[in-house]
Subunit: 514 residues, 2 copies
Amino acid sequence: MNEFQQRSAELNDLLCVMNILTWDARTQMPGGGSTARAQQLATLSALARERLTDPAFEAAARAAQQEAADDLQGRAAAQALDAVGAMRRVPEELTRELTLLKSEAQDAWATAKANNDFGAFAPALTRMVELNRQLADALGYEDHPYDALLNTYEPGLTVKTLLPLFERLRAHHLPLLRAIQAKQEPRTDFLTRFYPADAQKAFSLAAARRFGYDTGRGRLDQSAHPFEISFTRQDVRITTRFQEHFLPGALFGTLHETGHAMYEQGVDPAISRTVLTSDLLGLYAVGGASYGTHESQSRLWENRIGRSAAYWKLHYPELQAAFPEPLGDVDEQSFVRAVNRVATSLIRVEADELTYDLHIMLRVDLEMRLISGELSVQDLPAAWNARIREDLGLEVPDDAHGVLQDIHWSAGMFGSFPTYTIGNVMASQFFEAARQAIPELHAQLGRGEYAPLLGWLTENVYRHGRAYTPHELLVRTTGEGLNPQPYLDYLTEKYTGLYGLERQEHPAAHKENA
Amino acid sequence: MNEFQQRSAELNDLLCVMNILTWDARTQMPGGGSTARAQQLATLSALARERLTDPAFEAAARAAQQEAADDLQGRAAAQALDAVGAMRRVPEELTRELTLLKSEAQDAWATAKANNDFGAFAPALTRMVELNRQLADALGYEDHPYDALLNTYEPGLTVKTLLPLFERLRAHHLPLLRAIQAKQEPRTDFLTRFYPADAQKAFSLAAARRFGYDTGRGRLDQSAHPFEISFTRQDVRITTRFQEHFLPGALFGTLHETGHAMYEQGVDPAISRTVLTSDLLGLYAVGGASYGTHESQSRLWENRIGRSAAYWKLHYPELQAAFPEPLGDVDEQSFVRAVNRVATSLIRVEADELTYDLHIMLRVDLEMRLISGELSVQDLPAAWNARIREDLGLEVPDDAHGVLQDIHWSAGMFGSFPTYTIGNVMASQFFEAARQAIPELHAQLGRGEYAPLLGWLTENVYRHGRAYTPHELLVRTTGEGLNPQPYLDYLTEKYTGLYGLERQEHPAAHKENA
């Protein structure tokens, strides 16, 4: 190991350790430990920052860049220097103020949400917008301050690419939604029957293993909010939440986190403990190229595979056997229709695949205007409610079911919302590329053989860790950058079949192909 | 916070984090994570060492010593300077070599034990003895090199104090053992009946809570070897092992770890995150004054309380209710006799209260002679077997049941064995002091009221953390230093009652009082 590799390995160790502490805090820690845990995390975070901005680290990275024994080491050195530069551009005072404000704003948000009182959150949110604008200015951008923030989650993505893409999605989704709304709703009553938590856990874990999640290097626990977290590729853990009167939560939640986990487990051992498995700006150990790329894999495995008719044709009998009481009188087709039902709702995390993107686009539109200064925090609730009315035809009864529903803004995560929809788009692009590369894919999936798909994704996406930008990964595998067409085609085909739509009922869907 | 307090807090955070990683590795981590975990721990350990030997830390400690706002800060500064000095005296090369050898020697030991082949462990053990002798020389001592090693576990204790104390124990224990051996053995067959693990966990946890273990700041898990570990007083965890065909293991094991845990939970919040809850030389976060002091509390709660007739008079009906099948035909007295049975055995961890000390004295005698050079590793097995024959009247059938049974020497822990017996001795001294301070103690314990005892121990021992040496703690609470008499009296009285002995059957027991 040269000095750059040595220092990178230590940095990655620190980030992994912070992840371990986070996992423990969310799944195991007794309540009394929270203050001490926050102090321990703050100490580790300060240490990591100190070592990252240590001039010796920069010098080592420059030396490594000169040598550049191979492409990977050159990429690692370049990314390290980028991170050091970005961290230097952000004034320490701003970092400190943001850290304090995040904890303060999250408290204010939680109280505001509980009391349905946006006014109690508005001052903290106003300050959060100001500081994020300052952060954007410090990080730097060419066209739009939002680009600087977006970049910390999705390297290389800009408003210039994002907005036209969103417009195409919107032009497709809204007519498709209207067409679906004109049809009869599938029944879903049986999804809220009694499903014992133990049986849910057993089935979910078996399903995760069947996809290829290696529990010799991972484990499944419970937590209030499901998540995936890794401490090198050798220890990648997922959590889920078992609700005994709502089957899809844990079932698809586990498949979702499994997608994230298999990405992390698939990283090339050669880039373990390097910059290429470290988010140096976010101070987070992670093997995925970006939030969007990561989300593409969770959604690919959850939605493209886990919600497909082919999947349940094969596995529904097992599900029925696991839950004979609640599913005994439900046939496979009814189940597939139920878990793919499209229905407008006020809450993002409860949304279906189609309306989910509409929730995201609303948030991105509003947060971009907050950051640019076009929209004030005071006018935010009204803007939110108007857009919900316009897109979904729903009236927001109170802010708790509206503008206060998400934690993101109180956590200072401006620029992260787009990555959910970008993940949907990329998932279809990667899946299409896999389908073209593996002629037998359809037949394999029909037989429950997931190893070839996992192998292709590992070879083309997972093993690279953060070596390539999302754009580079897409070009390498699909020959082009972000392209929503495969995703739009997938949705159109899926819902046309499920709801028995006529082509002319949603003409917008294919206008780009026309 | 002044700079010394700030730096001490960060150091304590790092040590707590290392403890968290250790707890996770032993209770939660999937097998695949072990190599990465070792690297993470090595990185943290190097960082802690770096910050401990940072000249700025020493300067800050000296400044704090000058100010010495209060006695506690003065003690913290003095301990920090001691640790820095000791760490500086040990050559880095020796530390590195010891770290490498520990992992190598433990592998060699495990293999040797599995194959019953001492020869496979001898070279690593020989080197381990050499390096520990070098460590002793580097750390420094007045009379015996063993003192230097002993001091890292039991500050202030020397061979000069230890040996006469051991002689008194030996002179007491051996005749008492012979007298007991002449009596009829109690039946113990029912202890190996079927005790469901779930019920064991429920009963053990309830018993721990009853003593005063605060599960809002702790939790009970399973692990191969039971242990207690703390990440500040706010998060103190214990583990146990549930064997479904051996009830006492988990039952008394949990009470033992509970004693350790209540010590850690009882540390004064004012010395949380300071040097006074840090073992700076051992790089371990711990609130107890020494290994022996800690062991005194685990044994006090396990043995003095948990194995007493008074305890079971009160709680045996609950135990019977928890295990109606295996205990339905067993009366309380038979149970108390069974869990207090004295029987010679080859294995230390299976030994009763009386023969346990004999196992310890054997080890201490041998390891002192190894360190001084009087005994060679080659002659070790024969010396072991001879002593087992002499003290316990048993023939060692193979080294796996003899000299290879403990992990300590392969882990480089020369000097730690005495602390088990020191713990027994101190437990009785503290208990006697509590009994004198609380006239109602006997009646309270008979009613299952443990809070007054816990309160006294917290006030007089636990809250001080590592502020006082074990000797200082003893003098503060009992007016004298180490004194085995209360322990000898306890054992004599206990076994006289249990086995119906006559005084003249074990005259040695009271010769010092004569």
